[in-house]
Amino acid sequence: MAASVPAPWEFRVHRSITIGQFVALVVAVVIDLVTTATMSSSLIAMAVATFYVIGTAAVPESWYRIRFGAESITLFGAFLTITAVTLTGGIGSPYLLLSMGPPIFATIYGGLRIGLMTGFLSAGLLGLITLADGLTLLDALPGVGLYLVFVLLVSVIRKLLADIHQQATTLAEDVESATQRLESLEEIHSVLLRLSEDISAGRLNAVEVAADTLEAILARIPGSSGRLVLEDEEGPVVLASRGVPPDLAQSYQVPLSTVDASVGSLELLTSESLSRADLIDIETFVQPVSIAFANLRLLQDIVGSAVAEERIRLAREMHDEIGPSLASLGLALDMAAMQQAQHPDLADDLKVLRTNVTKLVEDVRASVADLRSAPGPTLTARLLQSTALLDGNPLVVVDLDERRPPRPAVIGDLTSILTEATRNAYIHSGGSKVLVSGRIDRSHGVCSVIDDGAGFDPSREPEGHFGLIGMRERAEKIGARINFQSTPGEGTTVTIEWGNR
């Protein structure tokens, strides 16, 4: 109790007792002056009692809270008051009421034990004075008993007050945490609402969910940055990264998990340390996101295996039926051409037909090979991942109409070219938005990276700047056409086109 922060009720009790002591002093002085003949001892008693009362009122309240403070003050007070009592007639003294002040103070600040000890000390001294005056212990009993009753009473009241105070504090804390929980729930609710909007709009993807989640969390922690990492089959994938890491940052890792699986983790760097309660709150907050990720993964698995089954079925049909039938047709044409050697025109027509059939067989073979190779991520998914770290300003938007992913032979280079163009626009354009748009199918497509920034004069821009040469070389390698279109002040558009429509 000694070093704790004073509760408001203790101030009020302290003040009440101080005032009570003044009243008791005045009453005692008046009674003593009226009834007593020995003026000198009365004056000394008055002086001692007044010193005590003013002293207790003057001593700063904090002195009671230092170690042994309350004990020392009340012990000294007990001696002073008992001295006044002794000087003015012992057990019948008008200062007897005032001498109950120190035990009461001791009870308030030191608890029941200290209170009782001070009470017993005063009572003991009182008993000795009574015996010294020639009276029996029986005469001292009312006085001593009074002390003990008082001390007990005060301590009970004190305990009641403390309990009430404790309950009030607990109640306030409960209200506080309930309010916080409610706010968390509201945010979770809004995130879920956004998720359901995304689902209904058909644009649910892990990157957007991750970005939304991360932004919502960082908004609650000032001066923080973070990354949201998803555990993929091929290792961890950074889905979103926001904010600038603060100096001397504290690092936290919040697991993203559902009941039966670990989905990933949220990595936070904060300028101020987070409490355990904060972390629990964040964990609660990311719970629906973990479930959303797990569901997304499940959905992808289901769609993936359904697609895989269909691919296998198609591949088998092409491999077992369509391909050999075409090949057999080719052989029949070869035979016919041989037998019609004496009719050159007909033989030539047959050879043209044969060439077409050969091309068809090769197409079937390529399709079978494509269908049998595991389907990789789409161009959209690759770009979303490669540009995930480009956030904020300018805003990077990937909006591709991708019917089927480009062929495995070109998709890697296409991803590199478009990522490079997007990075250039992000770093150098100074615009507010970079849009990657286009239409893509398996064998052909056209994509543009458009920014609304400063632009440049294409005739004066030195080649080699911004990796333009590298982009051109890559495009050439996969037989794609790349075009840079820019006007100073009107932004830049990089267009890449590949395959034949």
Binding site: P324, S328, L329, D334, M335, M338
Partner: protein
């Protein structure tokens, strides 16, 4: 004459290939089977210099059988799904050639001649392989058939279209009937046949004559 065994589960392709190889003068298909194990079994009783083998067949993989067969036949893999991995397997098993099913008949025929002649095509790159195959583009006839004279070939062509009487042949070729008989005797010997009908059939089969 090169004897060829075909192992392919796709009936239409196998029969088409069989017919196509049979009209070539120097190849004869001696059996068509539908699986690897069936190929092994068929070769027990019917030898073949060359086997055309598909990879994936319901009854058993073709490449496994190539390894089993060893030197008993020269295997050429002709498959729909010709991936590098499958080609690697074929090389290990000892196949001598590896083609897609889209392969033109003349190229396959050249490959059959080449592997029957002891060549190993599978180790060559495409350019070297095609160069080598050019040498095998023409049918290799038996020594007898190869030694037929121009006049003897003319007589065989006439036999193939149904002109078989000695006087008619003599009239058509502006030669004496005695000379016709001499030529015919030479042809019978070179083709190892005993009459004009057999000679006509063999001439058509060898591609020396056409029946129309």
């Amino acid at each position: 004459m090169i004897r060829v065994m075909i192992a392919d589960d796709h009936q239409l392709f196998a029969e088409g290939l069989s017919q196509a190889l049979d009209i070539l003068p120097d190849t004869r298909v001696v059996g068509v089977v539908g699986s690897g194990p069936a190929l092994e079994e068929a070769l027990e009783t019917q030898p073949a210099e060359v086997s055309i083998v598909d990879i994936e067949m319901p009854g058993g993989d073709g490449i496994d059988s190539i390894a089993e067969l060893g030197r008993r036949t020269n295997a050429i893999v002709v498959s729909m799904y010709a991936s590098d991995e499958q080609k690697g397997r074929a090389v290990k098993a000892g196949a001598k050639g590896f083609f897609s099913k889209g392969v033109p008949l003349m190229m396959l025929a050249a490959a059959i001649r080449a592997v029957a002649d002891g060549q190993d095509l599978i180790v060559l790159d495409d350019t070297a392989r095609d160069e080598l195959l050019e040498h095998y583009g023409e049918a290799r006839l038996d020594p007898g058939a190869a030694s037929l004279t121009e006049r003897e070939r003319e007589i065989l062509q006439l036999l193939a279209v149904g002109v078989s009487a000695t006087d008619e042949l003599a009239e058509r070729l502006y030669i004496s009937q005695k000379t016709v008989k001499n030529h015919l005797a030479s042809v019978f010997q070179k083709l190892a046949v005993s009459d004009r009908t057999q000679a006509a059939i063999e001439a058509i089969r060898l591609g020396i004559a056409r029946p129309n």
